[in-house]
Symmetry: C2
Amino acid sequence: MDVFEAIKKRHSYRGGFEETPIPREDLHKIVQAGLDAPSGRNAQTTQFVIVDEPELVRSIGHMHDRNKAMQQARAFIACVLDHEPEPVYEGMSFQVEDCAAAVENMLLAITALGYGSVWIDGWLRVDGRAEAIGKLLNVPVGKYVRILLPVGVPAEQVKQPAKKPFTQRAAFNTYSDRD
Amino acid sequence: MDVFEAIKKRHSYRGGFEETPIPREDLHKIVQAGLDAPSGRNAQTTQFVIVDEPELVRSIGHMHDRNKAMQQARAFIACVLDHEPEPVYEGMSFQVEDCAAAVENMLLAITALGYGSVWIDGWLRVDGRAEAIGKLLNVPVGKYVRILLPVGVPAEQVKQPAKKPFTQRAAFNTYSDRD
């Protein structure tokens, strides 16, 4: 799929999934896209756990009381970061940015391969969910699940919400020249 | 360009650029890819300034004493965030992630259109550079330039640094099963 088409088609999918399992070859391809993302100082510290063992997948999915994409996911991809990342430049680390760039690449790969997903982030940080999932996945002390992607073949058509127009969010040469 | 090819080809380019100017149509297409990125709760708070006015481009580029891609950039794209973003979910905001996802989309668009770029982030946070560039671009009080992308047609071939292998950064079903 053309890159601009994938970027345009990608959308947050919270509907149900078909029972179709996801071949490991596809999961590998999706996560490789995440590994190919840039990282601050090329540190490549973002780690991934791919979950496709059905019972484990169900245990994670059933933690969500509403989101059908979580509940019916056929696989999950978890991005794992350090609680106290090593600085890589002038005392700074860029793990949050690195992880987000990797997730965006994976969402585009998911879209191109005909799957659906939704970026699960804030939900993990509430009620000890990241910790509970980290335990299920044997994430070591000092690391935590930052972002989770449920993956499956969409069973429903969803309407993408409208995006703000270009001129409200972008301008040439001066910030002030926008609607 | 196929999305997987763009993901694989994208790399940090710090070399010189040809004098070829960048048509606004292409800059528009690149920034539209950024606007199409997901954002937490679809808040779409990341703002963009596209710099192609030659004198303004030079003023920004010459702030870097080393990076040729900065010095010879034909255009810049600046991502602008809020110093104190509105919470969008359980007291959290996701502007840093939103911005990073938008930047990754733009880097893929840049790659697909035959341009080169490099993600400039930490450098902006040192010696008041973000503030100085914000002033040049009339970024209002309360907002700041978080990420900057120099853009141009690469004049040099660079060798991509090696990436860590899949099995060092990813594993199935348990974190511990990795090299």
